[in-house]
Symmetry: C3
Subunit: 266 residues, 3 copies
């Protein structure tokens, strides 16, 4: 993948406006809706077991986020996920807080076990926990991991058979063998609630327009990170940065992405 | 209704500060609260069956929004709605995503059947679905309808016996016979999650201060649309536009409304 | 407590970054997360009975807010609260809408009865209702109380045995005997949904770094009010004010607090 491929994927999201079905937490759900719109895609949030299969059948991708989970919600995720799998609709899993509680760790493993997940997006601690190589999670934040992040991401991808997108100062996307590093981003993204959830929404939008989910995940993260860089040139505090982040994603040009995406294939 | 009537209704909302009870989705609920405050009214969100009757009894209007529904939530809506009907408190129904899933279509019809709804506010697709004349809904967005929008809105009002407010580039408000077109608005309103929900909140606030619900609905939409126009003169991307939209509604003067409301009675 | 103590507590929050566990409403939950981050602390929202005890055990404080309650949620609050009490983790209770419905009044009293609450933060009407001295609540807003606010706050603290933080143009913090008045703030804070909830989040963050909960509560309210004053110098309408409020809290210096906190001990 080169920078022009990333720009082309962004163009494709804007042209096809894929519907991205979210079953997600109630903390950052509005941010997920607005970031999906700003990317040029179309969000829909639905969690009732009576309707999730119908909604996902209309959608280009399914985003599952366990940020404020309950056992019932996990069952809705399973229903939606099975319907997605039967139609080859990509599923993004964001295992928010895996490692912080037994319920979260167990629910993340359960969904990984029962569904064919396309991209597992988590912070370093969450990925380390799922890899079983050691990860610390403090609430919903990563508190570090044991070992080299690239090796941990690869181990997680190997163990789960799923493409892993590990967020951090440098994002790491890997299928266990190939590794793409994404170096775009801005430190204020870590001071805003929900940027991790938003990244998963964007990976959903990009996987909806490409069958190469590893490239799609890297492209989504590079685009989001580049929007963060633009926002960081306009704002110096988190909440005005947040406004600028949405606006920048909306206004970002494929030309800017082609020039400024910072990806590296190992 | 003329422009001065709209301005007078806005003044009345600000003077009486009606309580607007919402049973709504968890995606845009914060936006509904803040837009209600910016209009000069007072929001309250409550959905527990143990308390919705008490809350609605204190309120000037009830807004029911099925954006993230469950069967239990619909039962809370029914309880609150019956209490509202027994006190002649106006009810606004926003059938978000009717047509996208059986649960949504069925729930919208159920509430229309069991309650006396004052204003049914939906996008073109949703209104077409409820009218039974053909409507396409993609997730929670309208994807068009079959036939002339004014005729579809009238058919929906005729069939349901409810005043219909169909949102779109031109909003259409009709009781089946009379038709008011509202031409205020800005295209960036379609790029922000929740502007449809916010419109329903404002219709709630305006119906709380006028017994002519058709005029109240048109006045609410004209005022919101005019705030959108002002916001559009300040911002060019969705999220800063969103901030400007709330601010503009808060600061808008009755004089501005009297001058710039764009309504047309057919 | 003097102004330098307040500044020192802010420094301590930023250094220790305590985890603040929220079981709160779905209207303002995102604001609570972001304000906690802007203060320098770390938010976590979790309400499933399967995990609240684990989450609170990791946390520096627990914030319970009944803004959109259900009986099940109150039971989760009880579970979390008992785990907090057994570990001497401070609990902040925000009895949103107590007095507006029987469910809210009863739930607030139930939590006060079953748990050892560290700080009860409410508006004048809510505190008056809980004190039993007469309080009016309109939806979730105070509509006044019977008697002198300081005496009502003291009566509430006496009756409950809990430190009371009564918000208003002047905030009143009391353990029944000692009284601290906090005079920082800006009137636009009352035009933004959720500033009361955010105040409770900040009290949570400050009690997590000080064993003197009365001082911690006053310090949190003075810091928040001072951020409001700074925001009010940058914005004149509610939504841009809201952005400035988050940004100001993030950027506020201990030196500014030491100079400009307006507290008075009676």
């Amino acid at each position: 993948m080169n920078n022009q491929n990333i720009a082309d994927l962004l163009i494709s999201v804007r042209q096809k406006r894929p519907l991205v079905h979210h079953i997600t937490n109630y903390v950052t759900v509005n941010d997920c809706a607005n970031i999906t719109l700003c990317a040029g895609a179309s969000p829909v949030m639905a969690q009732a077991p009576e309707e999730v299969e119908e909604i996902v059948a209309l959608s280009g991708a399914l985003v599952l986020n366990i940020g404020t989970l309950s056992p019932d919600l996990v069952e809705s995720m399973l229903l939606a996920g099975k319907a997605a799998n039967s139609r080859d609709i990509p599923i993004i899993l964001d295992p928010v807080g895996a490692g912080a509680t037994a319920l979260r760790t167990k629910s993340a493993r359960y969904l990984l076990d029962k569904l064919s997940i396309s991209v597992l997006k988590g912070n370093a601690g969450e990925i380390g926990v799922i890899a079983g190589t050691g990860g610390q999670v403090r609430g919903v934040d990563s508190a570090g991991l044991t070992g080299d992040p690239v090796l941990v991401a690869q181990a997680c991808a190997d163990m789960t058979g799923v493409i892993v997108a590990m967020s951090g100062p440098t994002d790491i996307v890997t299928d266990g063998t190939k590794v793409t590093l994404v170096k775009n981003g801005h430190e204020l993204m870590g001071k805003v609630s929900g940027t991790g959830c938003m990244a998963a929404s964007l990976i959903g939008a990009f996987t909806a327009v490409s069958h190469d989910y590893m490239d799609a995940a890297a492209a989504a993260l590079a685009t989001f990170g580049r929007a963060g860089e633009q926002a960081g040139s306009k704002a110096t505090a988190p909440y005005s940065f947040r406004t600028a982040l949405f606006d920048s994603l909306y206004a970002i040009t494929p030309e800017d992405i082609a020039r400024n995406a910072l990806i590296e294939t190992l």
